[in-house]
């Protein structure tokens, strides 16, 4: 009941004309970045973040969150119509979505993807609304040792779910943690790796790093391989699915919602993984698994629902624990901090207006997205007619201005350019840069929690595991590592006969 009262207050905030406009602009930009290949939610968020500096916290967070979940909707359009995933979480939709489009059934594929996305997203927001406040109350007395355990656990999970060999992911995390140490030591104010450069005393700007690693490197990778694809253009009349399509897709949507919500809670590229798990599950439970890949509607409904269902649950670790589980929520974290709102156990009690305003705006934004992604799908497809050279140039200008406005200094532009080049080379050779960014965000917090925890325990490491939560986290950490080692051994054994 209390939640409903808070939600009503949230709607009062989200329904103001200004916040409705920010929500609309957010979901519109999110859909655009989702539609455009080479721009995902992360790049979309980083590009627009500097523009929110002048807004009030509600407007800024509502707009940025709109980009995050809007991009998940938009990504399916190009996957279905052009076989080009607009963002990583829509890769799997290419398989059956494009096959449906080739058979003249692009309309039903787009409609089911949009309806599944709407249902997945909405259920996920209900979950956020129901689980976040009690979890925050439960975690309100969290101590530095437990906070440290949670963050280490988050980074450990990232090493397991990130693509590529684990050693590379660990190296990326350590590089990120090292980058986070640049600047003045938070306790003694001793300069670390500043080399007498004044700009480095504040540390390296996270936004400049994020725009470089994701925005610039994405452009550099894309300009190498700009290819012309002819999109399939559905008419408005052809969008209506048959009743049998709904009947076949509904169980997949339900399963996709559950998978997406659970995976959203897990740190790492949860959106992408949830789509693969959902697709595999749909194939397994199907009576005709061999038909997958030839245009099965379940192959679109499940994964598209799953990737959208991650958006609400991915907000839970961010808003309740202050721990971003994916790079996109790391950008939301920095946006909240810029606007004086510290995500964590006390956020919901200290800033209920921001939390419930955000929840309410997500409901509204989802309805906006359903409208944007069904009747207006043709308009978004037309965006692909703009030559990529012009789009890339425009994005570069926005990146340059966005980063420059951080401190009105060209130093951040150098940082962005350098990290753009670093990200380009790393991604070329299959090094996942997402863990690096997450580690940069968590680096400060991990070090502070580590040092505070040691102060509290009088320097005794064993005392860090005194509370039940600490013990539980440590046990999970050990179990995860043991599982990883065991699964590797089993894989190795399975491979041995082949190699021999």
């Amino acid at each position: 009941m209390e939640s409903l009262t808070h939600l009503a207050q949230g709607f009062a905030i989200a329904l103001t004309p200004a916040n409705l406009l920010y929500c609309f602009l957010g979901v519109l930009w999110g859909t655009i970045v989702g539609v455009l290949p080479g721009l995902g939610p992360l790049a979309g968020l980083t590009l627009l973040l500097p523009l929110t500096y002048g807004l009030d916290p509600h407007g800024a967070i509502i707009m940025l969150a709109g980009i995050f979940y809007g991009a998940m909707y938009g990504g399916s359009t190009t996957s279905i119509l052009m076989r080009i995933p607009g963002e990583a979480a829509s890769i799997i939709t290419c398989i059956d979505g494009y096959e449906m489009a080739r058979k003249g059934r692009a309309g039903p594929a787009l409609t089911i993807a949009a309806i599944g996305s709407f249902i997945g997203s909405t259920v996920s927001i209900v979950g956020l609304m129901l689980f976040a406040p009690p979890l925050a109350e439960l975690m309100v007395n969290i101590r530095p040792a437990e906070e440290l355990g949670l963050m280490v656990l988050a980074l450990t999970i990232v090493t397991f779910v990130s693509h590529g060999p684990m050693a590379r992911t660990v190296a990326m995390i350590l590089l990120g943690l090292l980058i986070a140490t640049v600047g003045l030591d938070p306790v003694s104010a001793h300069p670390r790796y500043t080399f007498g450069v004044m700009e480095l005393t504040d540390g390296i700007s996270f936004i400049a790093i994020a725009i470089g690693l994701f925005g610039i490197s994405e452009i550099l990778l894309t300009v190498e391989q700009v290819a012309l694809h002819k999109p399939i253009r559905p008419t408005l009349a052809s969008l209506l699915p048959r009743w049998s399509d709904f009947r076949e897709a509904l169980p997949s949507i339900v399963r996709g919602t559950g998978i997406g919500f659970l995976f959203g809670l897990i740190p790492g590229p949860s959106g992408v993984i949830s789509t693969f798990v959902s697709y595999a599950l749909e194939k397994r439970v199907s009576r005709e698994p061999e038909a997958f890949g030839t245009g099965k509607i379940q192959g679109v409904a499940g994964p598209e629902t799953a990737n959208n269902a991650t958006t609400g649950s991915a907000m839970i670790p961010l808003l309740v624990l202050g721990i971003p589980s994916i790079p996109a929520t790391a950008i939301l974290l920095s946006a909240l901090l810029i606007h004086g709102v510290t995500p964590g156990t006390l956020m919901i009690s200290r800033h209920p207006d921001v939390f419930w305003g955000l929840v309410a705006s997500m409901y509204i934004g989802n309805v906006m997205l359903l409208v944007l992604n069904l009747p207006l799908v043709g308009i978004f497809v037309n965006l692909l007619r703009i030559p990529y050279a012009y789009l890339a140039s425009l994005i570069l200008v926005v990146c340059v201005i966005g980063v420059f406005t951080l401190k009105a200094s060209s130093f951040d532009l150098w940082v962005m350019t350098a990290f753009g080049l670093i990200g380009y080379v790393l991604r070329k050779f299959d090094f996942d840069v997402a863990p690096l960014l997450l580690a940069v965000v968590l680096g400060d917090k991990i070090e502070s929690a580590f040092r505070q925890a040691l102060i509290v325990s009088n320097g005794r490491y064993l005392d860090l595991f005194q509370s039940n939560l600490s013990k539980g986290l440590a046990a999970m950490l050990v179990a995860l590592i043991a599982f990883q080692v065991l699964s590797r051994r089993l894989n190795l054994r399975a491979k041995l006969p082949k190699e021999e």
Binding site: A167, V397, V425, G459
Partner: protein, 150 residues
Amino acid sequence: MIRIRQRSGEIAIAAALAGLGGFAGYGALQMPLGTASVPDAGFFPLACAGGLALGSLWILVRAWYRRAGVEGCDLGHAAVAVVVAGLAILSFVFEKYGFAMLFPVLTAVIRTLAGRTWLHAAAIAAALSFGTWVFFVVLLGVQLPALLVL
């Protein structure tokens, strides 16, 4: 354009990361380290740098002893070089000359990426520069270096 084998690329990146780890570790040793019970400024960076150096060496050794495959990556694409050069120029001069430098840089970038004539590229660059100036400076009131585009 240069084609670099996947294995060679991995070795080069791992070596660079190991070098960075070693350098950062040396830098951390120059800071007050404290003790394991009461860590000071250099403790955490030293741990991260040490871990990075060791982890990278592990990647390097594994890549070194792996059989080289045929797969590789092309580096040095002209379009990439022009975009990076454009960004470097902007990083160097944007603070001083602002939008005045955006136009020539964009012209060069569009000319290379789109493969159109200089005139066409200049027209698009002018439109983009003017449009972004109106959007950021006039509409959003963002404080940017004052020199105008046209």
